[in-house]
Subunit: 194 residues, 2 copies
DNA sequence: TGTACATCAGTGAACGCGCGTTCACTGATGTAC
DNA sequence: TGTACATCAGTGAACGCGCGTTCACTGATGTAC
């Protein structure tokens, strides 16, 4: 067998990572396969050795965030999931709703960058999006005291507030309003986490 | 002057309304000018008699919701802005986070349908989006008692929660989770409104 | 009241361009001997 | 250890197609007489 299996895997991962960054910044429809492959220092023809369609790449790109760039994101934001859950949740909230995260077009969470793109995409892409939400909800839920049902409900609210606040802030023209929304969501979240 | 000014205005309004519905359902990039004009029972060539670019149409489509389809939306949802503000805010919240609104792809609020499209569009489009948010925040803010600053902050949180809850529910595959997010956001909103 | 005219909303062919995908190929590589 | 070979990751030209926009035109209409 020429080329190792690891070599192909690495190439694939490089394509996915480039796609994730470009989709995040420009949106799914505005990024061509050519552009992704060029960014990965490859030529377009090889794309279909790795993916059966552009849509499959989309799912892989969204999905990759959790363990890939998202892990780095958590490290940079100081989110320590091995410590006390309460502390981790507070760190997550602070990092997620930070001004830094708002401005990080390529590194930001795909839940913020791509909601309407995903809403119109295949079930596979939506499933990848759901993974991200489930991870966030679980982190919040695990940090909340009291009965399970109540904690889960509160965690869902915190997730909707976090993603919603950031989506709004990203969508508005850079303005005091955008900053106010982000700030208000953060402050309310901190209070709700306790 | 052949054709009345009103005639041209009406044609323009028809194009904008068709565009709003199509953008809402399929997204800005997935709807061609040809498609919009066809839906409005016109041919593509006439488009540039009314708009200088597709992007200008986008801004008009988002902007049109507030006084156009949005007014109808409020009427159907039983939102009575001429009555007590408290009551109007409760009606708005119930309508906005309703299952019916979630399923209404063409008639839904553009803040839910098009956030990432708008985030990548021109400042004019983003300004139109901001109009919608300002209207919602004002409605909530006016219904909340207490000091202005606190009421405004609470109103921003309610808007982030409402839009965020619906954006997440729309983006997830139709699942229990989507329904849970919508429900949790609604229940928390009701409590926060008081 | 009836008619000729000027206006401009609307038409439809055409433009250059970039898209997702296919395909015959090339050449770097791990393996068998 | 050195070499011939089979594999398949990667190449780049080509495909049909739909896009946003332009433009020379047509013909329905309100107005002047």
């Amino acid at each position: 067998m020429p080329y190792t299996a690891a070599h192909k895997q690495q190439t694939r991962a490089r394509i996915v990572e480039c796609a994730r960054m470009l989709f995040n910044r420009y949106g799914y429809d505005n990024v061509s396969i050519d552009r992704v492959m060029e960014e990965a220092e490859l030529t377009r023809g090889g794309f279909y050795n790795h993916f059966k369609s552009k849509e499959e790449l989309f799912a892989a790109a969204v999905s990759s965030f959790l363990m890939g760039r998202g892990a780095q994101w958590r490290a940079e934001a100081g989110v320590d999931t091995s410590g006390p859950p309460r502390k981790a949740a507070r760190q997550m909230l602070a990092g997620y709703l930070s001004r830094k995260h708002l401005g990080d077009l390529e590194g930001q969470c795909p839940m913020i960058a791509l909601p309407s793109d995903v809403a119109r995409a295949s079930a596979e892409v939506q499933a990848a999006y759901q993974q991200l939400l489930v991870a966030m909800v679980s982190l919040f839920e695990g940090s909340l005291p009291g009965r399970r049902a109540a904690a889960r409900q509160k965690a869902l609210v915190l997730a909707a507030l976090s993603v919603g606040g950031m989506v709004l802030a990203r969508t508005l023209p850079s303005s005091k309003l955008a900053e106010d929304v982000r700030e208000a969501a953060y402050k309310h979240g901190v209070k709700a986490l306790g």
